[in-house]
């Protein structure tokens, strides 16, 4: 059966799966009106919306792809807001005890030794882009630019650290929190990179009565608790 009317379809960045699945389950239990959520890369979702996908809500992992669909007038004017924030952290293997003070010109290259720094794709994936910006701002980018391993996404970067293939990695706090095999060794200062924002918007094809309960729900205290437990910060609209 395909998306019936009244059945809300949410297109969300893959990294939100745990939190949104939990919220959706709660909502299904409480109101019986669960959404159907399609998780994929923000890029894929944005393109699909462009191609007329039956999405009602779009939660992107970065601003670029939301801008992309907004420029094409595919979201309902005024419905866009910044839903979640996140932090960028430096992770190492769980057994490491040291902490790293992340500050301008900190000795990242030395800490890597002969290993490599795991990041998400620095030109393509939001976490990678933020990480690169932070390293540039802190002045350590030139010393590690050639020492990167760029994974397809944050999770894959995390796996590299968890498996010991890379001694250090830059990932979201929300991802690091759930991975027992890694330990956060340092958190990037918020000012070192553009704010990490997960914007949400209703698509222009969505009906208001279908989406507005979800806007409300995503902003509810219950939702906030779930998001925060996953390591996200809930931003004020």
């Amino acid at each position: 059966a395909h998306a019936q009317s009244g059945d809300v379809v949410i297109f969300a960045a893959a990294s939100l799966k745990t939190a949104l699945d939990e919220l959706n389950e709660v909502r299904r239990r409480e109101s019986g009106a669960a959404a159907r959520i399609s998780y994929a890369a923000s890029s894929a979702l944005a393109r699909q919306i462009e191609a007329g996908a039956p999405a009602d809500l779009f939660i992107s992992a970065d601003l670029d792809w939301m801008d992309h669909v907004e420029r094409r007038r595919l979201i309902r004017p005024g419905s866009r807001s910044n839903l979640l924030g996140n932090r960028l952290v430096l992770v190492g293997p769980a057994r490491s005890t040291a902490t790293v003070a992340i500050e301008p010109n900190f000795a990242l290259a030395e800490r890597l030794g002969s290993g490599r720094l795991a990041m998400a794709l620095v030109d393509a994936v939001p976490a990678g882009k933020y990480g690169k910006a932070a390293l540039e701002a802190l002045g350590v980018w030139p010393s590690v630019a050639s020492r990167l391993v760029q994974a397809e996404n944050v999770r894959a970067a995390l796996v590299l650290v968890a498996r010991g293939e890379a001694p250090l990695g830059i990932v979201y706090r929300s991802d690091a929190a759930a991975e027992p095999q890694v330990r956060v060794v340092g958190t990037f200062p918020e000012g070192s990179h553009p704010p990490i924002v997960y914007p949400v918007a209703a698509t222009s094809r969505a009906r208001d009565d279908a989406t507005s309960p979800w806007f409300a729900y995503l902003r509810s205290p219950a939702a906030r608790a779930v998001f925060e437990r996953q390591g996200f910060a809930v931003l004020q609209p």
Binding site: A1, H2, A3, V9, F11, A14, S15, K17, T18, R36, I37, S38, Y39, A40, A44, L45, R47, Q48, A51, G52, A53, P54, A55, N153, R155, A156, L158, S174, D175, A177, A178, E179
Partner: protein
């Protein structure tokens, strides 16, 4: 017995449906294209060859994107099919099947073509002299003789469909119950912290399905080959 969540169950069912549909739908077209490539000389044959292999050469994401552009609701083919035949691929399980079919197509064509090229054509002419129209010759001689290739092509396409996610997720997204096939579900699970055990479960399901399919195909293949053993 493992307990599956409703989402898992629906992904399993969907994946089976998609893989079967992709395999069955690809067969006649794959057969026709393989015949064309193996038997007919025509202008643009190289072009067709390249076209057939493209899904293999292109990153699946690109294939998925191309499908989205062509078969999406706004795409030229998608719009035409939706308007005139009522066939919609966009964000439907049919789209997932289409993506898998396209991805499996080169495998199907190659396997069948290979076996067509190895057929002893003198048997076909023999059938012709006995009064069989070329179409009958194809049905009663060529087709049975290339069965091993057809079985191989089908099993490759089926297996590919069980594992295909790049083009699928790019084309029809990841809508539970509609386009969330097993590989897409697995992929999604690998994207979240702590998703690994669940991903492993589904991977094993995937493997189990393929084992059944492979064993069945081996049985069929063995029966077919039995008839040509000689000293």
């Amino acid at each position: 017995m493992i307990d599956f969540t409703p989402d898992e169950l629906s992904a399993i069912r969907l994946s089976l449906r998609v893989a079967l549909a992709a395999t069955i739908a690809t067969l006649p077209i794959g057969l026709a294209v393989a015949l064309l490539l193996a038997r007919v000389e025509f202008w643009g044959k190289s072009l067709l060859t390249v076209l057939v292999h493209l899904p293999l050469v292109l990153p699946p994401v690109v294939t998925g994107y191309v499908l989205l552009l062509l078969f999406g609701r706004q795409g030229p083919i998608g719009a035409f099919l939706a308007d005139h035949l009522g066939i919609v691929f966009a964000f439907r399980w049919t789209g997932a099947a289409l993506a898998c079919a396209v991805m499996g197509f080169p495998l199907m064509v190659r396997a069948i073509r290979l076996s067509i090229e190895m057929v002893d054509r003198r048997l076909e002419t023999a059938a012709g002299t006995l009064g069989a129209h070329p179409l009958w010759v194809f049905a009663t001689v060529t087709l049975p003789l290339i069965l091993p290739g057809i079985v191989a092509g089908m099993i490759l396409t089926f297996a590919k469909a069980l594992g295909e996610f790049g083009a699928t997720i790019t084309f029809v997204s990841n809508i539970p119950g509609e386009t969330q096939t097993l590989p897409v579900a697995i992929y999604t699970l690998t994207q979240i912290p702590g998703g690994d055990p669940a991903a492993l479960r589904l991977t094993l399901v995937s493997v189990a399905i393929s084992v059944v399919a492979l064993l069945a195909s081996e049985l069929v293949a063995r029966r077919i080959l039995n008839r040509t053993v000689a000293l």
